[in-house]
Amino acid sequence: MSHAPSLNTWSDALAGFNLGWFPLGLVIVAAIPLVFIALYALTYGVYGERKISAFMQDRLGPMEVGPWGLLQTLADILKLLQKEDIVPTAADKFLFVIGPLVMFVGSFLAFVVLPFGPAFIGADLNVGLFYAIGIVALEVVGILASGWGSNNKWALYGAVRSVAQIVSYEIPASIALLCGAMMAGTLSMQQFCVAQSGPFGLLHWYLFSNPVAWLPFLIYFISSLAETNRAPFDIPEAESELVAGFFTEYTGMKFAMFFLAEYGSMFMVSGIISIVFLGGWASPLPNIGSFALNTMTSGPVWGTFWIIMKSFFFIFVQMWLRWTLPRLRVDQLMYLCWKVLTPFAFVAFVLTAVWEIYK
């Protein structure tokens, strides 16, 4: 562990707080990110998507349950909980049940290394970025298991498409993140943020301090859309072609798990992109003379605010794209990955290396 000792003193002290035999402090520190994400993904991610799409489409979106429909998602969850849990007789029961669980776990395990502010992080692994890339790949197993286990032709198509897509897009995505790792000289998520925080605010972020960072940033953003199966790359679940893709046969909470995993992954990639290229929890405001705006807006609470704001921004862009663009075809998607993004990712890699040597 190579993090600065001053960073986690606040949360370390909290983590040491025990209530008798019960490690209350540790539970709070470790669970806050996950609880927050679960809450976000369950309620406000879905709610936000519905509202954003509604405003884009001249509608109001959910308005009935609670003020401005704020409780709509809770009502939906209650509904989903009451639904009958159907397992098709022809399905491979083990794979059918394990699929959504694996996908859910794969999507949410990545939050372990996502720092929510300087004080909140599940585990500041020194290979945090590598771990995040690796654990997200677990989703593929879940998708394939559910697609194969459903014993449905549409689900099989969706699963096979999805595996091809996610495995392919991990290459440009990983290379783009590697550029970020080269700039920061670390793989630890906390160190990314530390390296990009400073008195001049957003000028320290790689996106603004490093002229070659734009290329890996864009490549990673496009690839992350494909990795999370979002439009215009939502071909594994293309509803007009494959009914619902790999989760065609799922009902009730199992279906909700796919949903959760999708919103979890959305938040995850948005978090990663804001950490690697936009300074994570670093404040964007600069210190101007005696107005120490940066110092004022740093710290555990402000840090949490900034990273969530940055992630929300990218989630918004993802939703914006989803409700604007049509869907690419399978072969066009592969073309984009192998013939456009991967070569450019290599170019970005070389450029970053050159920049890091001669800057």
Partner: protein, 400 residues
Amino acid sequence: MQELGKAELNSTRIIRQDDNRVVIEKDLDTEYMVLSMGPQHPSTHGVLRLECITDGEVVVEAEPYLGYLHRCFEKYCEKVDYPGIVPYTDRMDYLAGMNTEMAYCIAVEKLLDIEIPRRVEFIRVIVAELNRIASHLVAIGTYGIDLGAFTPFLFCFRDREHILNLLEWISGARMLYNYIWIGGLSYDVPADFKKRVAEFVTYFKPKTVELQKLLTENEIFVKRTRGIGLMPADVAINYGWSGPMLRGSGVDWDLRRNDPYSVYPELDFKVALPDPKFCEIGDCLARHVVRAIEMEESLKIIEQCLDRMPEVDGFNSRASIPKKIRPKAGEVYARAENPRGEVGFYIVSDGKSTKPLRCKARSSCFVNLSAMKDLSKGQLIPDLVAIIGSIDIVLGEVDR
């Protein structure tokens, strides 16, 4: 060879080389999979079922199966008197009820050989063109959904809502109008009709540009549709295609101009044809573009009709309706340009009954859909969806 199981045998190829070496290649053969697409599928536009034989994602053959919405329209016609058939024609092409009603009424009027007041003709053309826009909006919107763009669909439906409100205002119904009657109209238009239609025209003109920017010129949309589902003009004619499908293949054919009816000869409009610089002639994009242009042409027609529609004091739209509709013995075929192509009615009267002896409807969607098998050969499943969408079928008309 004994230990090879039967399943393994199927997928194993034994190649005897020239020098008598044996090469065994395993797991080479792929199997075809039969994929039943529909009747409950989001992009078959209703209850069409396609039985696709697929090799991976490639469709080797797709056979459309129809009849899920068959309601014996032609048999019913023999049991119902002439005016009673009009509501049934609404239910054929339920997205363009006015146009189908108009085609049917033209057929019966031809059989009766009666004169229609000019005002009625203009109102008919206005409502038919309004309905054409509404129908094309659905076609374009759902085509967007087929290709994964959801927002254009709701934009289209927002604009279509205005047309439906107008048509509800004059006929009392939003979809199944029963407005155009044999020899007249069920009601004259309300007093402010001209003003409100003109308001709609000014409202809708910028929206076509918006739609063009959002969907037609979208890079991904063009990539998905350009060069897909190519249909050469001669094959299209042999299949009997009509309407935007035929014009998408580059054939300059529009019944409103080539076999004019009603007041269309007096009106100045352009027959929509695809631009070869933007799309390949005969592909899905060409058909989409033709529909988009046709909406603008319909607006022109409506504007001209509003200018020329005669104002008659105390006009009775039912005055020209015959007291008893009992045509002379004979037969007639009348056709009209519907949003989806040529809709024709072939009616035989025995001269004694108030009911037709035979009423045959020529459905545009049915004929257009018949090329599905040809179009779908060797396409990917996403392209198959794009092709079905570009045919713009309404199953109510396919099955009748």
